[in-house]
Every structure is written in C-alpha cells, then in structure tokens.
C-alpha cells in the first residue's frame, strides 16, 4: 500500500462574517493518488474552490483552516513554514483558475509570467530575489537569452501555441480566450509539479474549445505523470475525464467513489438528483434547477445533513451529525457516502425510502459520533499557518485502485 500523493483528513474551513461563522468546507476527507484525475463536482458556492485554496493555504486572514491532516508527498502542508509552503505552491502543486482573462496579469508579457515560475521553481540559476525581479520587471525586461525565457517558449510550444517566440513577448489581451488558457496551462506546468489543481478550467471558455483545453490538460498530465484535481460543476466533464470523483454539496463531500460506480449506482440522494438532471450536450440550462428547494445557509450551519430539506428520502436520523458510510461490495475503488440511509441497521424499501429505524441503528450512530468518527471535533485548530494535530487518520482507508486505462476525452 503506497501512500497517496495528497491525503486530506477532516478539513474544515470557516470564515468570520458580520452575520456569523460561515462554514465553507465542513469535515472533508479525500486522497489523490499519483497520476490520478480526481474530480470534485458541485454547484457554485458548495465549497469546491475553497477546499482547493485551503489545501494550498491561499486563503486570506479571514479564513480559518482546521484539519486532522493535509499530507502531500509525505509532508504535512499545515506544518510547513510560509517560505516552505511557497516552494510547494507553483512547484509541487500548481493551479489553473477559471477565467484566463482575469487570472493572467494584464501588464506582464506571457513569456515572463511563465518564466518567473521556471526561475522560482526550476534549476536555471537565475536570481529570484526581490530586487532582481523588480529590476527585470521595471528596468531591463526579461532577457530572451535567459534559460527561463527559453524554457517558457518550450512550454508554450508544448501546450500547442503557434509561433511561441512571438507569443511570449505579447500580452494576455492580444490572445484569444483558448490561447490564454493554454498559457495558463503552460504556467501550471512550468514548476514541474506533481499535482495540478484545475478550478473550473473551461467554464469561462467557449464550448467549442472546452474539449480541446480539457484534453490538453489530461494528455499533458498523463505524459508527465501529474495528478489532477479537477474542480467543476459539470457532471459531463467528470464522467469523461475523472478516475474518481467526490460530490460536494453545501460544504460537505456527500459521496466519493470511482466515477463509474458513482454514475452506475449512486447512493446519495443528491448524487441521484444530479445524475437525473444531466443536460443534453447542447443544453445550457442550469442543471440544478431540477432538484427542488434551495441550498441551506452556511452561516452558523446546524449539524445534520444539509440536503435533508430537499431530500425525498428524509427520515428521523437526518438531523443527526453526518458520518461516513463505506460501501464494500464490488466497488472499483473505495466508495463512501454521507447519508444515514446507509446505516446497516436502517431498513430501506425497494424505492429507497426508509421503512424502519430500529433503536440499535440509533445506538450504533451514537457510538460513532461519540468516537468522533466523521466529525472534526477532535481536530486541532490550525489558524492558517499553525500546525494541526498530525495524528494518524481515523478509520481505515482502502487503497484506491489506479486504473491505467483512463478514457481519453
């Protein structure tokens, strides 16, 4: 059993707002294997991006991140100093953001935006101190003879940008949307990372180039053996691209499992609802409109399942704190569901509705809550940079089977 590349246990992120405490990520656990494409799917505001930013420690002071563990390649990210963390950002883990127009700096050449990543994370022997960088930016410009610049041009070529020498000297506004996102991909590859977090990488793009860009990300990550954490609201994209997927709703991971298992046999009512509402390829409608009701307020979020008000299977236990139920039968990968319907002792009829909740089901749940399983009560508070409790993960965690035959999109 080899260690996963990224192992996150009990991640909880909250923000202090004027109205109260907003829980943006609630007790989320997941792992990403080497070379794997892991999808996080959910509607906007469900906490997908904040999950990624929490792992990267990129939230500003307003956010409080707590976790049992955020282990990347053997190191606990929460225990790193800020400067150690900087070498992880862009180097070990890089990010691709939603809108290439706004995520590229409008007053810097494309070449320099890539080259600076090379300089900071690669071994090109160029100075990266504050004054060196400032002189390069405002006085001399980046030398086109420098190794970092030449590497930037190579990367532009790698991501399929024609005339890379010329393009490198241009500014983002001079490129088309698709080309810009290719630049962002090149930028993400520049630090030679082992994980790329792609946050809605195609949402801001034209539908016609969406497939190209996704393919580019997948092919390159495959070629260089990079894992991908793909954040999206598009189930179609997930199905085509991911190995495993987590469904996020109202700051919690509702169901996590192999993408085929999840699509063939969803267990969480929310996942079911999502799958039932996948639009046809040419349909722009908001797919969530099919599930009735609204997302609960995340400020001073009560314990219990956040989906219960919209759930047709809701029953007595839904008010209780959620715990994770692992499904063991014939799964391609570990499959976990946060729904009390999965409690062994709860009886469910053919249609999925609960018929009986015996006392021993309640008792079993009480014991698990008592033991702290599936809740973050025992997590040590880590205020952004403070080290969290590095204790071992609670509960067993099966190794995910890595399938080599990932479908190309």
């Amino acid at each position: 059993m080899s260690e996963p590349l990224l192992d996150v246990r009990g991640l909880t992120t909250s923000f202090e707002t004027g109205q109260g405490r907003l829980t943006a990520v609630d007790d989320v656990s997941f792992s990403i294997e080497e070379g794997e494409v892991f999808g996080v799917v959910g509607e906007s505001g469900s906490g997908k991006s904040v999950t990624a930013l929490s792992v990267m420690r990129l939230l500003d002071d307003a956010g409080t991140v707590e976790a049992d563990e955020v282990r990347f390649d053997g190191t606990d990210l929460l225990s790193l100093s800020e400067s150690e963390m900087r070498s992880v950002r862009g180097g070990e883990i890089s990010m691709i953001f939603q809108d290439p127009m706004t995520s590229l700096n409008p007053v810097m050449t494309i070449g320099e935006q890539i080259a600076e990543v090379v300089r900071h994370h690669g071994d090109v022997g160029e100075r990266t101190g504050f004054w060196s960088e400032m002189r390069r930016k405002y006085v001399t410009g980046t030398s086109t003879e420098s190794r970092s610049w030449r590497r930037a041009i190579e990367l532009l070529e790698t991501v399929g940008i024609p005339e890379p020498e010329q393009r490198a000297t241009e500014y983002p506004h001079q490129l088309s949307g698709g080309m810009r996102q290719r630049v962002v991909i090149a930028q993400a590859l520049a630090g030679d990372p082992s994980l790329i977090v792609a946050d809605e990488p195609t949402t801001a793009l034209d539908v016609s180039i969406e497939a190209q860009i996704l393919n580019e990300i997948l092919e390159l990550s495959d070629e260089f053996g990079i894992s991908v954490m793909l954040i999206t609201h598009d189930l179609g994209v997930v199905r085509e691209t991911c190995d495993r997927v987590a469904v996020m709703y109202a700051s919690e991971f509702m169901e996590t499992g192999h993408v085929d298992d999840l699509f063939e046999d969803p267990h969480h009512p929310y996942t079911e609802g999502l799958l039932a509402s996948i639009p046809r390829i040419d349909d722009d409608r908001e797919w969530l409109s099919v599930i009735e009701g609204t997302v609960p307020d995340l400020i001073d979020k009560p314990p219990g399942c956040p989906f219960q008000d919209r759930c047709e299977y809701a029953f007595d236990l839904c008010d209780r704190p959620l715990v994770e139920y692992e499904l063991d039968s014939n799964r391609r990968a570990r499959h976990a569901v946060r729904c009390h319907r999965e409690n062994d002792r709860v009886r469910v009829d053919e249609s999925g509705h609960v018929t009986d909740v015996p006392d021993e089901a309640v008792a079993a749940l009480e014991r698990r809550i008592e033991a702290g399983d599936g809740s973050s009560n025992d997590a040590t508070v880590a205020e952004s940079t403070v080290r969290a409790d590095g204790g071992s993960p609670t509960g067993g965690f099966d190794e995910t089977e890595r399938r080599g035959d990932r479908d190309e999109y």
Partner: protein
C-alpha cells in the same frame, strides 16, 4: 486601439480643450457690459486713445471676425499686451514663471513621493493602525485649503525655524540651498492637498487590484508577498491613478495662486491677482490662456506616461 491612434485621439482632445478655453475666455471678456475699451482704459480716458484701442482690439468688426482674428493672433504666439505696462503678456509671464513652476513642481514631487507609498501601505494594512493613521492624514489634506496650510506653516515652522524663510523667493541661480528653503513651505502647502487626493486614489485602486484573480495566481506561483504586491500589483494599480493624477494637477495650480499671495512670492498668481485688481483685461486673458495651455501640456505628458504603463494601449489588438 493602437498607440498612434490613442495619442492622436488625445492630441485632438487637447486641441479641443484649448479651443474651449480660448472661446470661454474670448466671450467672457467680450461680454463685459459696456465698452471694453473704456473699461480697459478707465472712465476718464481720452477719446483718441479709446478709438485707437478699439481699432487695435478690432472692436469695430463683427464679433465672429474678432474671434477669428484673435485666434490667428494666438496661433502666432501673440497673447496681447498689458494695457498698464504695454509689455507683451507672454514676456511678463515668463519673467515670473520661475517661482510658480518651482513651487508647483516641488509640491508635486513631495505629494507623489509620500502619497504613493503611503497609499500602498494603507491598502495592504487595511483596517490596521498604519491604514487609519495615513487615511486620517490624507483626510486632513483634502479638507484644508492650500493657502491656509501655508498660513499655519508660517506660524508653526517659519516663526520658529530661522533657516526657513516665510516671505519671498530666492532664484535657483543664487544657490540651490536657499532656493529650496524659500519654496519649501509653499511647496508643502500646495503638495499636501494633492498628496491627500493621490494617497486616497492609490489606496482604493490598490485595494481593488488586491482582489484581482491575477494576484491570487501570483500567490499560487509561490512568489513572496512583496513580489506579488510590487511586481504584479503596482503597475496595475497605477493605471487609473495616473490619469486622475493629471486631472487633479488643477488642485496644484489653484493652490499655487493663493499660496504665492500668502508667502509674498512674485509669481504668476500674484501677477494674475494684480492684473485683476488693476482690471488689466488683456493681461488677465493672456495669463489664463497661457496657464491653461501649460495645464493641457502637462496632461499630454501624463497621457504619454499612461501609454507607457498600460500595454493594452501600447500594444493594440484584442478587445
């Protein structure tokens, strides 16, 4: 929009601004009730002189003819003569421009050097003591008339520090030290309000930049916070500030006029107020025109600066 197009557009714009100034000035002076010639020369002027002036000013021609004649004279650099001294307006202005320009320039430099860094610090340390302190000072800056700051400076500094004169101007050819000392207080008085404006603009511009996606990208690249701020943020934040900084030079201009009076400095402001008191209309008219012209020129320089820091204009294309 390419660079050349942009500059051309701005130049045409400047020409229109000047034309507007010229027109306003022309019709304002011409709409003085009564006979401008009599008004200029005074009630007891002799008829011959009156007639001569009328002819010289072309007052016997139709108004539009007068207007175009006047425009033509302006284009050849003829801004008229003072009716008191008979000297050309341009010449009189050049003689007294030294102190005015010195004060305005130093005031500007003081404002820029202090306000821009302060604005940045303030935005980064938002809602912390640094922010409260500097925004408070800036608030006072934009709430005090420059000439009053001058008076307070005279009372507080001038009276107590002998090395700093509170009256008059020492030309630079009599030594840089004395020159600097003679314009220091007036320049602070002029620069403080301008600095207050700049600081507030810089702060709010930088606050917006700090929220931009590309700043998050820069952090995600693993850059230090100083590099994120100054390499990725600074230039973007300066773009809107630069344009407004040019427009608000008018604050410096207005400040200088009154501050010269406070410090008893013979500059353009004193000349203008003196000519108003003497009802020397050609001199008033010429002074307003020339100073406006300098203001417009300054804004052309600012436009050039703007194209240098904004690649969206320097390199056209895209949307």
């Amino acid at each position: 929009m390419g660079l050349r197009q942009y500059l051309l557009k701005r130049l045409v714009h400047s020409v229109f601004v000047m034309l507007f100034v010229v027109t306003v000035v022309f019709f304002a002076v011409r709409s003085i009730p009564g006979d401008p010639a009599r008004l200029m020369l005074g009630g007891d002027a002799d008829p011959e002189a009156l007639e001569a002036l009328r002819a010289e000013l072309g007052l016997n021609e139709p108004l539009y003819v007068q207007y175009f004649q006047w425009l033509r004279r302006l284009l050849t650099g003829d801004f008229g003569e003072s009716i008191r001294t008979g000297e050309p307006v341009l010449g009189s202005l050049v003689q007294v421009a030294g102190p005015t320009l010195s004060i305005a320039m130093l005031g500007m430099v003081i404002a820029l050097v202090i306000a821009i860094p302060t604005g940045i610090v303030s935005s980064v340390k938002r809602y912390e003591i640094e922010d409260y302190l500097s925004t408070t000072i800036a608030f006072f800056g934009i709430s005090m008339p420059a000439f009053w700051i001058g008076i307070v400076l005279i009372l507080v500094v001038g009276v107590n520090v002998d090395a700093i004169p509170t009256f008059g101007y020492t030309p630079i050819n009599e030594g840089v030290g004395p020159w600097l000392r003679s314009i220091l207080l007036p320049a602070i008085a002029v620069g403080f309000p301008y600095g207050g404006i700049l600081m507030r603009m810089m702060r709010s511009s930088m606050l917006e930049v700090l929220n931009e996606d590309y700043m998050r990208t820069a952090r995600a690249k693993g850059l230090t916070s100083n590099l994120v701020l100054f390499k990725h943020g600074l230039q973007n934040a300066l773009i809107p500030v630069v344009t407004l900084a040019g427009i608000f030079l008018a604050v410096v201009l207005g400040g200088v006029v009154a501050v010269e009076i406070v410090f008893g400095i013979r500059g353009i402001g004193r000349l203008l107020i003196g000519s108003i008191n003497r009802r020397d209309f050609p001199l008033i008219q010429g002074t307003v025109l020339i100073v406006s012209f300098v203001f417009v020129l300054a804004n052309i320089v600012v436009d050039l600066l703007y194209t240098m820091i904004n690649p969206r204009i320097k390199y056209g294309g895209g949307e």
